[in-house]
Symmetry: C2
Subunit: 234 residues, 2 copies
Amino acid sequence: MSRLRIAEIFGPTIQGEGALIGQPTVFVRAGGCDYRCSWCDSMHAVDSAFRDTWAAMESGEVMDRVRALSGGRPLTVSISGGNPAIQDFGPLIKAGRAEGYAFALETQGSIARDWFEDLAMLVLSPKPPSSGEQPDWAAFEACIAAGAPWMALKIVIFNETDYAWAQEVAGRYPDLPLYLQPGNPQVDPAVPVAAQDVADRVLWLVEKVCADGWFAARVLPQLHVMLWGNKRGV
Amino acid sequence: MSRLRIAEIFGPTIQGEGALIGQPTVFVRAGGCDYRCSWCDSMHAVDSAFRDTWAAMESGEVMDRVRALSGGRPLTVSISGGNPAIQDFGPLIKAGRAEGYAFALETQGSIARDWFEDLAMLVLSPKPPSSGEQPDWAAFEACIAAGAPWMALKIVIFNETDYAWAQEVAGRYPDLPLYLQPGNPQVDPAVPVAAQDVADRVLWLVEKVCADGWFAARVLPQLHVMLWGNKRGV
């Protein structure tokens, strides 16, 4: 069996974003991505320049680490990246579920996997125009069709163009719970985050959504950035 | 029909707490409460000293105001207080539902109402020891039995005693989704909130929950306090 490329495993800490915000979680961050978003906040898990920092691990080794971090108590495991769907996380999810762990997976929706149906939650985060990437909607719809029992759309918004695009995308998938998240233009872990700047970007988006009567959209910050800045491993 | 005592109606803005965090919402804050929590952050809707500031409104007048604020577009209406369950919000909820509005109601769970079953969500927020109040668990369980289609527990935690109490209460109601929220000891709208103090209280609670392996508990801040401080009407 081929091994998984893992950029980092950390936690438990709370999920900072989206539908599971506040949920104690162990994070498994996969290395490697088919996208190169201009504003990526996890380039250490994307760019092959960081490849030497990724571990090659069997699913069982990943599960050993998750179990150690959680003290053996089942919890929610979030698989993120990079794009974790470029690798085969099916065996990890199957093994963890057998022990009572629940898995959420976050992906841009560019690659569908049949093991999505074993997730507790699939977060689909199509990338807006500011990313410089262009979603493949046929692939995206194959992800939706893969049968995850709970799904949500999470769209990052940096500017007016992204906002208009998000409205169009949300209109196409009205049955998916929708989370909007202001973009974070400052992702250098070495530079302290200005709390007021983070708050101001949330306020901008809250005001737009409320003024436009876009009441199906939930607006959430990256709570972890408000609490820890861009520090890694929390 | 007797009129409703209403302390304030405002929005739309995002829900700042609990299971619906981030959801665009119009807030209807009822005047009057059967509790006097030591740290109440809404005393203007509780203490009868503020009674002159409350409006006496028919359900239809409340609905007119909600409709005006939302531009006639259905959204989530959160009925809070005070304790809204001391008044009859059944007719308002029925009228609003007929127009497509969804209602959430927040109460300590001291008074059950048959119209809870017409809510989209019932948030039960039993008050911990630091409040100086003592829950009536028979009444609380009558609230659970009233048949709301979606319920959650939200427990405010100020200190270790509250935390231990929350563990016990949560253990009694394992089927209810659980949200923990650090208490806010500084509720004077005239005094600016120190963002770092708010963050520190969240971090304290996150660290405890994760260290104790209490993975069913979701930990969320009062996001509106992080964004707006103690300002009213947002």
